[in-house]
């Protein structure tokens, strides 16, 4: 058995040399991803966050069309298909940049992943993984677990099982509604975050507001993940 720990390391917090010199001609790089002088592709700095990589501000509402257009543009710049006749060094950079770009696009495209990523950037911690039910759902979840156990132990063709199934279906609908409610709460928080970013104030009040939004966002995101996992488990059981 292997002994690996479960930290998904985020590359951007690792210490890396700042990219300022072209790896090939050693001149100062001022262009975005290509050296102005020798036109060689440059490795995307690991310090660069996904928002900056796409040229977007750290806002939570994103124009999907623009995101996609930028993804396609950068794919054309980095994809290994266009580096087949280039040196090994350039092929390696192309591969690394493409892989990074694909991760960045996948993260920013999905509103939940985008918010989790922003939280990680702004609050500097890995997302909470909840192992106990949120307080307001405690009783409900415990009861649900009992019903699930009962259903698993029952003869699936029996009347008891049919009744339990109906009960679980109702529970499922309720939890899915709860998930949607949390998502609309998140949507509101996203709006408040963007408004705060747009105002760009540096007051104590703005900082307090910022911390409040991030804390609320973190709480709802981890509750939502918890509920989502419960729903998935439920769906798999009664399927």
């Amino acid at each position: 058995m292997d002994g690996h720990t479960h930290q998904h390391t985020s590359g951007r917090r690792e210490l890396q040399m700042a990219r300022s010199m072209c790896w090939h001609c050693q001149s100062e790089v001022s262009g975005e991803y290509f050296c102005d002088r020798c036109v060689k592709v440059q490795p995307v700095s690991k310090e660069l966050d996904y928002f900056t990589c796409f040229g977007f501000p750290r806002r939570l509402s994103i124009d999907q069309q623009k995101l996609e257009a930028k993804f396609y543009e950068l794919s054309r710049a980095f994809h290994p298909d266009f580096y087949q006749n280039k040196s090994d060094a350039e092929q390696t950079i192309s591969l690394g940049n493409s892989a990074m770009l694909n991760t960045a696009y996948r993260t920013l495209r999905d509103p939940i992943q985008r918010a989790e990523y922003l939280l990680d950037l702004e609050a500097g911690s890995v997302k909470d993984i909840r192992t106990t039910p949120p307080a307001d759902l405690f009783e409900e979840i415990l009861e649900l677990q009992d019903t699930l156990d009962e259903f698993r132990a029952s003869d699936r063709t029996s009347d008891t099982a049919a009744a339990l199934r109906t009960q679980l279906q109702t529970e499922r609908a309720a939890l899915e509604q709860r998930q949607r409610d949390m998502e609309s709460q998140l949507q509101q928080l996203f709006g408040r975050w963007d408004a705060l970013q747009d105002r760009g104030e540096a007051t104590d009040q703005a900082r307090a507001e910022r911390d409040r939004i991030l804390k609320d966002m973190r709480d709802i995101l981890s509750n939502r993940t918890y509920v989502k996992n419960i729903v998935n488990d439920l769906v798999a059981t009664i399927a």
């Binding site: 292997d2 690996h4 720990t5 794919s75 054309r76 493409s98 990074m100 694909n102």
Partner: protein, 606 residues
Amino acid sequence: MARIVGIDLGTTNSLVAYMDKGTPRVIAGRHERAMVPSVVALTDNGLIVGDPAKEHLTRNPERTVYSVKRFMGKGLADVQDELAYFPYTLTEKGGVIRIKLGEKTYSPPQISAMILKELKLRAEAFLGESITKAVITVPAYFNDSQRQATKDAGMIAGLEVLRIINEPTAASLAYGLQEKTQGTIAVYDLGGGTFDISILKLKNGIFEVLATNGDTHLGGDDFDRLIADLFLADIQQQFGLDLNAHPDHMQGIRLEAERAKIRLSEELKTIATLDLPEGKGRFTRELTRDQMESLCTALVERTLGPCRIALKDAGLTPTDIDEVVLVGGSTRMPLVRQRVQALFGKQPHCELNPDEVVALGAAVQADILSGGTTDMLLLDVTPLSLGIETMGGVMSSLIRRNTTIPASAKEMFTTYVDGQTGVDIHILQGERELAKDNRSLARFRLKVPPLPAGVPRIEVTFLIDANGILNVMAKDMRTGDTQSIEVKPSYGLSDQEVERMIEDSFKFAADDVSARKLIEARLDAGALIITTEKSLTDGGQLISGDEVTAIRQVLSALASAKDGNDPRTIRARMADLEQAAKSLTVAMLDDSLKRGLQGKKVSEVT
């Protein structure tokens, strides 16, 4: 840059294509046939490939290998259920299936390499240049081991495989090039042995795969098997004969089942026949399309599940699909077309020959790689989740299925015991919870400096490249040193083994020199055939009918020699032809002299 060809290495047939001034074209052999049957036979004169090998299926079943693609990247246990269907003998060594042919055994990549070599020779003879680079297609749902095995086959055949691309996406490139389509398309690819479904978004030359799914063990072969089983039961009943004792007739019935299936795509009923052994006479049976469809309907239904999963993974419903494209010979079956049309609610496209479209797309991708086509870009995905085994035998996913490739994930490893010097890592591919239910790709031991428990920090990067093949790198975070990792594939050949097979393959082909002699002889013969035919057209009337017939006879003898593998025979037939055509050459020379003299005054001649 040297020319790169595109190759469709199929279960039943294989093709090679190239880009001709912006248009992909398949390279045809004799009788304008572009398809090379994926069959290899061991005869008294050595190994033969393609159409001549196919004739040995019924004559020499124990020594004739077909459908080898089903065994690529597999162990013997994976194919246990269907061993009985294959007349040749399969064994296993080092987790890799081996096929017994005479005294020797061959791995599936070696057999595939023989098919690839045949295609390589065909391309070289046609294009008149040496071919060393290729793009080869694989089913989208092929796992890492199967892709690696395909790449190994290329290397053994003396080809640098610049890219492995997925068959349905290759097809979409060929379609995209022709139709300049935009929108969301579904490519339904049912071939001889595999099924794939891919959902793509086409926009401004970008071909973005949204999701893919499939079954690498479902195709035309399985339909044939069901029909053959029906015939076998009939033969048993009518004649009290068990054909299983007659491998040659088993192949006969399998081929007859395939032919009947193909006829039933056009006709509503057909007659299947087979000469029986043991003096039992002849088996004859009518098969209607309805009967065949009721046999095959469960198999066709099995393709719809993956279609629904792919749609769901792409976040789409059938109404979001703008176009449906059919690929693979099995999509000629009316039942398949009906079911696909019913699922997507759209008349599917089949303008391009479903047998050729994958090879054409591979040629387009080859052109992109060589810098010819620059406006198209394929963004494909990895079909299966990649992960590692963790405590308790659970798979922890690192790269989810349908992630755009190239894709990478990093994972940090440390030690649990003081002074521990290694960490064992088991890489898996699949969607199941438990490690044992997923495909084992490889194991390796991470070297760790002996330090107190928890102190070492080794970062391992798992990178799936644009071929869908995994690369692993490790870095000691304390020292910044990178570590090369020797990965032991669970179901693949080791690097050393591939090296040895490459060496062997040179020996098998007698040697390189004779291979070149063959290519040159074929080229020269081709040129001679063309000039002689032109002479016959232009000057045939100058000689007697008997003479024309004689020349034609020698001409066709040369044509068959050219398709053979012996340069000396080709040269001999060429000499024959030159001899036979002498009277024609002389007659044409005389004629042109005579016409040259016409209109001139006698005084000018003398």
